[in-house]
């Protein structure tokens, strides 16, 4: 058993695994066919190698700094591994004035052991404001949301430096935001239905506020949002928020007819009327679930602390200095002679 442990603790195995890790990092990060998750293989080998070294190598255990560094690394790899297993990554666009609906979330990654509480998350989207400098340089983003249990709702303003954490899920604002057209579909002989159409991200696509939409009746429409006054001001500082100026919607039907309506106006379509209610903002959030990350920070700090301690143990200040200025000056004289 001890012999196997010693073999597993081999320093040469460490070097081989590090080399493989290096190659897989390079391949995985660049390749479209090989995922970077393949680095888990050499990382698992390195973890076992390290654990075996801690158990089998007395010299290793006597060097406090080195031991702390490696234990910190082991903890870090373990925490990252667990985080991958329970993680969740996704994104969602939420309309100003509307409630977050988990069904709208586009999931990008979910771990095998993810507990899955997203459907319990509730919040209501409030105002959205994004500051810009001249040249369309984005500054701070402020998004107000209301969340909490019914009767104990609290208002929170989140932004670039402050995410909202609800049920362990973090909602992080993104640069992706724009305008949404709030509409009411009034079908003939039935109750009206409210809905919203999100236009492309603003101000990135200021020049192209056009989107295609299929009406509940199945009719294909192309809608273009126009404002009476320019919203973005590339030549000076400005704030992106729900526009106050008048707007109009140019709607082109599939037969080539163009209809223009403003706020409160209605379009007569097949099967009913489409009434333009208002324009609101929408904002996109990144959603993630990594509850162990604070512990990863602790493990990483522990590892770096151990490394610094080992440096002090291995290269004490006086040893590094080697010799005094007088000794050096004397040597310099000998060299000149």
């Amino acid at each position: 058993m001890m012999s196997l442990l010693r073999k597993l603790a081999s320093l040469r195995l460490t070097l081989v695994a590090m080399f493989v890790l290096l190659i897989l990092v390079l391949i995985g990060s660049r390749s479209t066919t090989v995922d970077v998750s393949v680095t888990a293989i050499p990382l698992a080998v390195l973890s076992m190698n390290l654990l075996a070294a801690i158990l089998a190598n007395h010299t290793f255990r006597r060097q406090t700094g080195l031991l702390v560094f490696h234990v910190g690394l082991l903890l870090l790899i373990t925490i990252i591994g667990l985080s991958v297993l329970i993680r969740f990554d996704g994104h969602v666009e939420v309309l100003q004035g509307a409630s977050f609906d988990p069904r709208d979330v586009e999931v990008t990654a979910v771990g095998w052991l993810h507990p899955g509480h997203l459907d319990e998350v509730r919040f209501k989207q409030g105002d959205v404001q994004v500051e810009y400098l001249a040249g369309l340089t984005r500054q701070s983003t402020r998004s107000t949301i209301q969340h909490g249990a019914t009767g104990a709702m609290r208002t929170q303003t989140i932004g670039d430096r402050q995410a909202a954490e609800i049920n362990g899920y973090r909602f992080i604002t993104t640069p992706n935001k724009g305008f949404a057209l709030l509409m009411r579909w009034e079908p003939a002989g039935a109750e009206p239905v409210y809905g919203a159409i999100h236009f492309p991200s603003f101000p990135q696509y200021d020049w192209k506020q056009v989107t295609d939409w299929v009406a509940p009746s199945g009719q294909h429409l192309q809608m273009e949002l126009n404002f009476a006054e320019p919203v973005s001001r590339p030549d000076r500082s400005w704030v992106l928020e729900r526009p106050q100026s008048a707007f109009s919607v140019n709607t082109q039907t599939s037969d080539g007819t163009t209809l223009v309506v403003g706020k409160g106006g209605a379009l007569a379509l097949e099967g009913g009327m489409l009434r333009v209610v208002d324009v609101q903002m929408w904002i996109a959030y990144r959603i993630d679930y990594y509850p162990l990350l604070p512990w990863a920070l602790v493990a990483a700090l522990l590892a770096i602390g151990g490394l610094a301690l080992h440096f002090r143990e291995r290269y004490p200040a006086r040893q590094g200095a080697g010799r005094t200025r007088k000794e050096e000056a004397a040597d310099a004289c000998i060299a000149r002679a």
Binding site: M18, L22, L136, D160, I304, G322, A335
Partner: protein
């Protein structure tokens, strides 16, 4: 109070001129035994002062630190590499000879600096926090200490290649220099680790993710693994030839240098600073 870009330019040009003079006055050391400590160190002090003043002037004018553009990165790195080299040779006088190799490199960085657009780009609000400072400062200390380690290794390689040269003869503390190669590389590893940690926390506030395998992150990790691998190899193979070790140290510095000055400016990844 608005500060003229001309003053910044003059300070930069003065600093580069001092780097050129420092490089030239050291050239005889390659062949002759006689060498002076005070003159190169004094010139390097002037370089540090000139670039510190240029950064201060730019900072006052733009109301932000030199963090974003290639010009910013070159300006701050010529300052930090010079300042760290000066600090190291002040602490360990035998390392003064490293300026023979690091001096020309700093001069070339200076020449590069005056050939890139100096126009500032506003720092996005999400970039500006304490983690940025920790990330940048630890990164600069890493590269500075790595430069001293690689220059020392380079000098030892040159001296081995020409044992009868004035350069080899003027080595008065080869044992200390050998120690300095590895102790400084180890110190560089500590600061590189701190740079990666602070960088990932900062990336979260800047872009909403800790790590996304963008080219700069990938190459920084590759440099870290290589650095760790070299230190590990030295501990594993006690009889590894000194010259192989020195070549590895020079190689890892080249890798770090390319990661700092090559990757961020040839990729179009998010690390370039999307707004």
């Amino acid at each position: 109070m608005p500060v003229s870009p001309a003053l910044e330019q003059q300070l930069v040009l003065f600093g580069i001129a001092m780097l050129a003079v420092m490089t030239i006055v050291q050239l005889p050391a390659f062949t002759a035994r006689h060498r002076s400590f005070n003159l190169p160190a004094g010139l390097l002090s002037l370089v540090v002062l000139a670039f510190a003043a240029a950064i201060a002037v730019r900072w006052l004018r733009e109301s932000q630190g030199p963090f974003l553009t290639l010009y910013d990165i070159l300006l701050s790195n010529v300052f930090s590499l010079s300042a760290i080299s000066l600090f190291m040779i002040w602490r360990r006088r035998h390392l003064q000879m490293t300026l023979l190799l690091s001096g020309p490199l700093l001069f070339l960085l200076g020449v590069w600096l005056v050939n890139v657009p100096a126009q500032a780009v506003p720092l996005p609000a999400t970039f500006d926090n304490y983690w940025l400072w920790l990330h940048v400062v630890s990164g600069k200390i890493f590269l500075g200490v790595c430069l001293v380690s690689a220059s020392t290794a380079g000098l030892l390689l040159l001296a081995r290649g020409a044992p009868r040269s004035g350069l080899a003869a003027s080595f008065t503390a080869q044992t200390e220099m050998r120690t300095a190669v590895w102790s400084n590389l180890f110190l560089a590893f500590v600061f590189h680790s701190l740079m990666l940690l602070a960088g990932s926390v900062w990336a979260h506030s800047a872009w909403g993710r800790y790590w996304s395998w963008d080219p700069l992150e990938t190459w920084a990790l590759v440099t870290w693994i290589t650095l760790g691998g070299i230190l590990h190899a030295r501990a594993t193979f006690k009889d590894m030839p000194d010259s192989l070790g020195y070549w590895l140290v020079v190689g890892v510095f080249a890798l770090a240098f390319l990661s700092f000055f090559g990757v961020p400016f040839i990729s179009i990844a998010a690390h370039k600073g999307l707004i």
